[in-house]
């Protein structure tokens, strides 16, 4: 036995004996760390005294009523949807095309296409945000709305592709051959055989793209001028300049959207796919 082994032996024995308990402690501890802040937000949205009081004196739905009567906040939700819905449609279409091309065809620049569809995750948001405002607003002079939709598409393509591509790859292409042997052409085969099979993955990709777009802040903040804010930009202004208890309610709205979308996406595909980000 070496000296090092003799020194570490007690620790080895301790770890051996308590491994399972340590693992449970880690899991419980980290999950508490991840979820308690969210619990605090939900709890405070019902707090009568508003933002600063914890524990609250009395529980109330007052701030939900304030939120529902606040046109600025509701307008921000509408603004967000008018961006997120078209952006999601475009992203799903493009991501499906990328998945189809990468899965089926060998062509020059194939790995470049994959790289380009991954890079927006890796390049810091602030860098791409700056680049976009310089090019879209400065060079091209695009209208705000168009710039923001394009920005959201770029932001969401990598995530949609990461979910949609594996569903294409795991699809059994023998089925397509069978369809063609039975006399269907490529388009009929795609519509009646391929699409129904990859459909859950495509929808899951769309749900996640929508969630991401609904939450999108950095690109929007840079690219969008002073016009109607999206909900995340609205929240940012609120937090920075005049926090009201209503922000807690809007947090719950964000939370509800995320939980609904992610659970729906998970039910359509494997959790590991959603887990990639």
């Amino acid at each position: 036995m070496s000296v090092i082994d003799r020194v570490t032996a007690p620790f080895e024995r301790f770890t051996q004996t308590h491994a399972s308990r340590m693992a449970t402690a880690v899991i419980v501890g980290v999950l508490a760390f991840l979820w308690l802040p969210i619990g605090v937000l939900v709890f405070m949205s019902f707090a009568d005294g508003g933002v600063l009081s914890f524990p609250p004196d009395e529980l109330t739905l007052r701030w939900y009523r304030v939120f529902l009567a606040n046109d600025a906040a509701l307008d921000a939700i509408v603004t967000t949807l008018t961006i997120s819905v078209p952006a999601t449609g475009i992203t799903v279409t493009l991501a499906t095309m990328i998945a189809y091309a990468v899965d089926r065809y060998v062509f020059p620049g194939r790995s470049w296409l994959q790289l380009l569809a991954t890079l927006p995750i890796i390049v810091p948001l602030v860098v791409t945000g700056v680049a976009m405002v310089l090019f879209f607003n400065g060079t091209l002079g695009l209208p705000d709305y168009v710039s923001v939709v394009i920005a959201h598409v770029i932001r969401t393509i990598p995530f949609a592709t990461l979910v949609i591509l594996p569903t294409f790859m795991s699809f059994d292409r023998g089925l397509e051959e069978a369809s063609k042997d039975l006399g269907a052409d490529e388009f009929e085969t795609f519509r009646q055989v391929t699409l129904p099979n990859v459909f859950p993955g495509v929808v899951a990709g769309g749900l996640l793209a929508f969630t991401l777009s609904f939450n999108e802040f950095v690109y929007t903040y840079f690219v969008k001028g002073s016009g109607d804010p999206t909900l995340p930009v609205y929240i940012w202004n609120q937090i920075r300049y005049n926090v009201t208890p209503e922000v807690n309610v809007i947090s719950v709205v964000f939370l509800a959207v995320a939980v609904t979308m992610v659970l729906a996406a998970v039910s359509l595909t494997r959790v590991e796919l959603i887990a990639r980000r």
Binding site: A9, E12, Q16, A19, A23, V30, L31, F33, W35, V40, L52, F54, P55, G89, L94, T96, M97, Y105, F107, G109, L116, T118, I122, V123, P124, L125, V126, V127, T128, A131, M132, L134, F135, G138, I150, P158, L162, D185, E186, F187, E188, R191, T211, L212, N215, F217, P232, I235, W236, I239, R240, I250, S251, L255, A258, V271, E272, I274, A275, R277
Partner: protein, 320 residues
């Protein structure tokens, strides 16, 4: 626009009904579509181009070219189209203030990455090796990640501010208040909170791919759990670790939301300087030059990571 992509959209809207729709209009469309498919069948290059081309073009034109435009603008004086100059870089690199900010940003990023890697790896390891409900646990870990980043920071403002949730709890148990908001600790907590789910995923993926027999073999040969971890588990999952490190370090280095909301004026990070140039100082070329500085750091880190075996494409699971 190509036929397959158009059919994607239709399918997504109609609920993916596998039965063909057989009214007169769609039969006519089908006829034209069949002509087109036959036409493309003869020309495989055109077929590939019609499917790969549109997303390719959009990514190049709206993502790659803007980044190049940023490079160009960073060499212009005062405004877009200004005289060519190295001044933006000279100003930045000769300013003690900015260099201090870069150094602070680097240190915070290293600290955050170390904390997240340690905690995230411990969590992934615990889930993979000791838990049977992996799907549920993984879901609970990633769900917070899909809520708004700003909202998650806002939650921590509530918790950390003087007389906030944390101080109230400390008071209840008779401890003095700490008022952590606008300290570096707050920034570290905030970053750890947002990146932890992100880092757990590559760790989880590489640990799942690890052959459990290797661990058994190591133990059979007399190694304790710590020795086994250091000489088998960690080396075998190093790609996942590197991917996780890259995924945490890069966005931390470029972040402005967390230091702005949790760090106050003593913890200015480089991302905040860029934000200032675009939102209040309105010196876009200077902001572009700082963007290039961040990009250089990012590229250097990626090259380093690729050298040590992290997957550039592995923005998640592809780490085996």
């Amino acid at each position: 626009m190509t036929e397959p992509s158009r059919s994607d959209d239709g399918g997504a809207g109609s609920g993916g009904d596998p039965e063909p729709v057989t009214d007169g209009g769609s039969a006519a469309v089908d006829g034209r579509v069949s002509d087109l498919t036959a036409f493309l069948r003869e020309r495989p290059r055109l077929r590939t181009l019609s499917i790969a081309g549109p997303p390719y073009g959009i990514l190049v034109f709206f993502f790659a070219i803007p980044l190049l435009a940023m490079l160009v603008v960073s060499f212009q004086a005062d405004q877009i189209g200004g005289a060519w100059t190295l001044g933006n870089y000279v100003d930045f690199l000769t300013s003690d203030t900015y260099l201090t900010v870069v150094w602070r940003t680097f240190l915070i990023s290293v600290q955050v990455t170390a904390i997240v890697a340690a905690v995230g790896y411990a969590l992934a390891y615990s889930i993979v090796r000791f838990s049977r409900r992996t799907t549920l646990l993984l879901l609970l870990v990633i769900l917070p990640f899909w809520t708004s980043y700003i909202i998650r920071m806002y939650a921590w403002i509530n918790i950390l501010q003087s007389d906030g949730v944390l101080d109230s709890i400390l008071n209840l148990v008779g401890l003095p208040a700490v008022g952590l908001l606008y300290t570096k600790t707050a920034v570290l907590i905030g970053f750890t909170y947002v990146w932890l789910p992100l880092a757990v995923l590559p760790f989880y993926a590489s640990l799942t791919n690890l052959d459990g027999d290797l661990i058994e073999a190591s133990k059979d040969l007399g190694a304790g759990p710590i020795r086994t971890f250091l000489s088998v588990t960690l080396p075998m999952t190093i790609n996942g670790v590197i991917t996780g490190i890259v995924l945490v370090f890069i966005p931390t280095f470029g972040s402005f939301i967390t230091p702005r909301l949790l760090g106050g004026t003593n913890n200015v990070m480089i991302g905040m300087v860029i934000e200032n140039q675009f939102k209040s100082a309105f010196n876009w070329p200077f902001g572009a030059a700082i963007g290039m500085v961040i990009s250089v750091v990012v590229v250097a880190l990626l090259l380093l990571a690729t050298r040590f075996g992290g997957g550039l494409f592995g923005a998640g699971g592809e780490t085996s």
